[in-house]
Point group: C2
Chain length 351, copies 2
């Protein structure tokens, strides 16, 4: 459906995943809908220094369910009811009002869940320079989850060779990378996940030393004592709640906890209590929450490390690709019931 | 009651506070008893490199109630049933088997709750060089609580001028010092305590900007929002539980929590749940538990800072002195019901 004036004024159809209204508890597919009636001009408005991009790959990430809730304060973000949801994605520049980008550039950063987006906040948009890897990797291993894993493990955890590392939600986009970084450094690495298939992946594909299915462990404390009889030096926290409580009983002196996420808590009406914080004192535990966006300055150093490892097959990476924007809501919601195996991506369009 | 052979073999009466048996929940006075039948030779045994000391001041500290519980693992300490309890104290060397100390030296460090102690582990015993202050100060402002406040505030919290600082159990030995350090640095300082008398002290004697009685605040979150409308940069955590939960809702981005103690949790049969840890992620909060003994290397630097401030009256310090070893059990147990005002010390003997 093209209409309008000259070439530059081309207006095309623009399918969008629209957010219906604030959610409490678990998000459902029906909290979003596909709008097929929208159109967009493939041109940056006069005077704007933004970009008009064609979205190629969209990323499904756990933090996104927090954006479905009513903002808890003026400093937190939420999706806007009636507007497309947004997240990280890989896109191609169709028109640029910004001297840093030109038509044809590939970028990754925050974009909308729609075929085309007008991006006005280009500050944290990164140009993709290395294209000898699948472009979808920039939603994962080379994008936000990659930089999250890198900065969380190397900066927050201050890891040393030989240390004992535990990762929860370990088969997710971030966890699988943290585990591989830790193995490359010479750590002992155990991961937890929520299915036999994921546990097999951790052991066989990602080469963790051990992995277990937390759903089959009635006593998480006992499970951790089995895998870490001498205790845990580093816990990479993705789930929170009961797992954190069990971990706190098993930390070694001067242990470090990098708090990356607490997916078990995001969809609860009432947050679970963590009872064993007092054990932080007995073991002088250091617990730090972080987000990758405080670490953009490390991105070039991160690429220098990870690109050769990918090329040499020393780091493997698994994606779960849902095809078509219309499959997006189901893919996103599936994250919270653990349906995806590997990094969940939505393929909107081939380049 | 002196008996025995020559002068060096002098045996004297040695009253002791004996630990009866492991406690669960709140310790009571009756969990200890005074043994008045003991004797001790005022001489270090042949071949020992320990010290025989006369105890002058003994320190009552919150962590001691943890020593009354059954050890939770092989790496935790407990008092030994049937033996004297122990803690920090100021003592005078009566006989020395160690070249680093001589008879007449004043020391502070770990000693027994008794009139005389044989100290075999002298590694963390410090010689008192500055005696132009009350010797009891070495159980508090110049001892373990002082170094705790100093290392916790300056090292763990990385404070900056103008930051917003909240201290719980603020009238205690550590809290009153942290608040004064923070004021000296130019921070805005609010403290919580459990009585009107303590709140008045915080405001009038220790010059906190504000203070409140947590027992009179049905909604701690609302109280903190009143005192910190823009949020908290630094929380010096002494209590845990509900207070921590309320604080987590009010931290600023990149806020820091120094976990010094969680006195509200020490005597509970079942630990309270902390529900708002997920807010650490939203604000990238850094929470670190620490103990002063990791910071002995900072002790000289700490003295350089604090001694002139004491001399000039820029730091004030309040003690609550119980006279006589026999008053020790009541003084110690009183800590946990908040009876003491200022640092609780037991005076065993004048120098």
């Amino acid at each position: 459906m093209a209409s309008g004036g000259g070439d530059n004024e081309l207006e095309v159809s623009n399918k969008q995943v629209i957010f219906k209204n604030y959610v409490s508890g678990f998000p459902k597919e029906s909290d979003m809908y596909l709008n097929t009636n929208g159109t967009i001009k493939l041109k940056v408005p006069e005077g704007s220094n933004g970009l008009l991009v064609k979205n190629l790959h969209l990323s499904c990430d756990p933090y996104m369910c927090n954006l479905m809730k009513k903002p808890i304060s003026s400093t937190t973000n939420s999706f806007e009811p009636g507007s497309p949801i947004f997240g990280f994605g890989v896109a191609k520049v169709v028109d640029s009002g910004n001297p840093k980008f030109k038509k044809g550039d590939l970028v990754w950063g925050k974009s909308g869940w729609e075929e085309y987006s007008l991006i006005t906040d280009v500050q944290n948009l990164l140009k993709i320079e290395h294209t000898d890897v699948p472009l979808s990797y920039y939603t994962g291993i080379l994008g936000m989850p990659g930089l999250t894993a890198y900065s969380g493990f190397y900066d927050v955890c201050s890891p040393k060779k030989g240390e004992y590392v535990f990762i929860s939600a370990a088969s997710g986009a971030v966890g699988q990378l943290v585990g591989q970084f830790a193995k490359l450094l010479g750590c002992y690495v155990v991961g937890s996940a929520g299915s036999k298939e994921k546990v097999d992946l951790l052991k066989n594909k990602f080469k963790f030393d051990e992995a277990f299915n937390y759903k089959e462990e009635p006593d998480l404390d006992a499970a951790l004592k089995r895998y870490f009889p001498e205790g845990i030096d580093i816990y990479f926290e993705n789930v929170g709640g009961k797992m954190l409580d069990a971990v706190l009983l098993n930390m070694k002196t001067h242990g470090r906890i990098a708090v990356c996420g607490m997916i078990s808590q995001y969809n609860l009406e009432k947050l679970e209590g963590v009872h064993n914080l007092v054990h932080m004192i007995y073991k002088r535990v250091h617990m730090k929450a972080f987000v990758f966006s405080d670490y953009y300055h490390l991105y070039p150093k991160f690429l220098d490390l990870v690109l050769p490892h990918i090329a040499e097959g020393k780091i493997v990476y698994l994606e779960d690709i849902a095809e078509g924007l219309e499959s997006g809501p189901a893919a996103l919601v599936g994250l919270f019931s653990g349906l995806n195996v590997g990094k969940q991506v939505v393929l909107v369009a081939q380049e």
